[in-house]
Amino acid sequence: MTIVVVGIVALPISITVAKHVQSVFVSQDYITALNLARLEMERILNTAYASVASATTNNYLGYAYNVATTVTETVSGLQAYKIITVSVTKVGSVTVLVTLKNYMVKNVTWGL
């Protein structure tokens, strides 16, 4: 009787504990991906307008994550802006963990 009761209850508890352990690693993925995406976005924002272009970096900075930057430009006469999309995936996975977006306008200087 004891074995039956313990067996019935232990199964869902075991699954729950396993999920908990798994979630620790998943959350670590999200946190790392978010910070890598921020790092890449800040790097781009400190790059000259003309040099901002699409690129993919595998194993970004030695981490097991790929960072893809997609840049599209909208032009009107001499004026233009670029839409920058930074997406982070884990190496070997196609699931995008984090996506950040920003715009960059041409011919505008920043700072005093």
Binding site: T2, V5, Y103, V105, V108, W110
Partner: protein, 266 residues
Amino acid sequence: MIKKNKGIALIAAIMLIVFISTAVLGLSVFIVGWYKQIDTDEKEVRCIYNAQAGINYALYNYRVSAALTNGATAIDANNNFTLSTVSGGGGGGASGAVIINATASSLSGAKRTVGGWTIRNNSAAAITINQVTVTWQKTPKTLTSFVINNVTAWTGSIATPPAVLAVSITIPANTTRTTNNKIIFNSSAARDAGITLAFRMTDGTTTSPCTVYPAQASSCVQSAGSLTIKSMGKTTGSNQYRSVQATYNTTTGNVSDYDEIFQTVP
């Protein structure tokens, strides 16, 4: 003795299960909270970049058409920003970039045409004039035509100043319209003590009236204009937001001040 202890294993097992269940439940609550925190952190980062995108978008629109961008704009299905753009400081907005030079203005065409004056867009972005106000002192005299860069921007018949003309004149960045700028009347302007021009831009800002006849000793230079742009970034399905404010100099094309502000926009 054995009979007395019968069932103790079951009770012990149930107690153990209760303890473990409580611990697992507590851990679950902790992990759910942890994930909510991660989700909040991610949205905060996305919101600030969305807000920054809004500033860049407003600057682009202004530089293309001198338009002030307001209201919500979607970046994609998950991200958006809300803008509030106002002209402020100096001559304000696009009008601050205008320089009118009437040092060489003169009369021609039976002294009915005031020409020889120039107008310059002294900024790094195109400006569009949508209204010209002409005043003169000596009447009777009827304004019949207004020409910029050899293009007739307005024709009509206005006998009483001020004459408010609806026009659409675009001057590219850092460009001076030097030739064939004319104010044409139906009779001589020779004895007029002061003919002035004022321009209103599509961003709603207006230059101070500038005397274009008789010829002046110096140009009419407006004060440098500025824009104050507030942008609030949000993500779809969330009330979380982050806002930034930028001050843009319309003459130099420089953002001199950029700060996070802790308020909603507009």
